[in-house]
Symmetry: none
Subunit: 140 residues, 2 copies
């Protein structure tokens, strides 16, 4: 987390430098201030969206009408929050790479999580894991 925050700081500093540069370019060309401001606004709005997604990725929202998650079973098997997220996406038919992209982590990380899941769910393949999870009331 600290790492990412520092990263953002650096990124913002770099952007500031770029903006500084662009600023003079724009002014010598007599482009309007409004346009410049608009560009900045749009740019930073985009950055905000991105950063927001990145920073709040931990939240899991699963809502299915008649489904009630079996917390006990989850704990009994020692399945962590992150692992559960992976399990869900797996159940949606996503590939490991897609899951990695969606959760903003590396492919290897997903592989580790899924391996752990297979162990805990006593499965050898993702299809089995998903089936087992449904039987245990871990998935709708």
């Amino acid at each position: 987390m600290r790492k990412t925050i520092i990263l953002y700081g650096v990124a913002l500093a770099a952007l500031t430098a770029i903006l500084k540069f662009i600023e003079y370019r724009f002014f010598v060309r007599d482009l309007s201030l409004e346009f410049y401001l608009g560009a900045v606004a749009v740019l930073f709005a985009g950055i905000g969206v991105w950063a927001g997604q990145r920073l709040t990725r931990r939240k899991v929202v699963i809502a299915t009408p008649d489904f009630k998650l079996n917390d006990g079973e989850l704990q009994r098997l020692g399945i962590s929050k992150r692992e559960y997220e992976v399990l869900e996406l797996m159940a949606h038919g996503l590939s490991n790479q897609e899951i990695a992209d969606k959760l903003f982590v590396s492919l290897n990380t997903i592989k580790t999580h899924s391996s752990n899941l297979f162990m805990k769910l006593d499965a050898r393949r993702r299809t089995q894991a998903v089936r087992r999870a449904k039987e245990l009331g871990l998935l709708p």
Copy 2:
């Protein structure tokens, strides 16, 4: 969704107006342009975070009730008996090799069947195929 987008548009327009006003206030007070730009950047970054959160909120999906095989759908998609058998075993989490053994045919045969299934079910992976089949009422 459309409503929210329009809402954002209006909000942005209002903000622009406000900025326009603040702009002159700032300039007559001789505050630096850099400061002004920074404020805009921060503000819009914030807006971006907020908007991003709102727009990517997840939706609730309705789960399927009890199972009654959908023959019509099977025929519509042109799924043969053998293919359906493979699909069933696939849904049980078996590997292609295991399916081949169970049906007393070669691995390659299963591969062709599954490939055809993926085509007919518009899926790329077995997990997707199974999911899709369940949605269509082809599997419990």
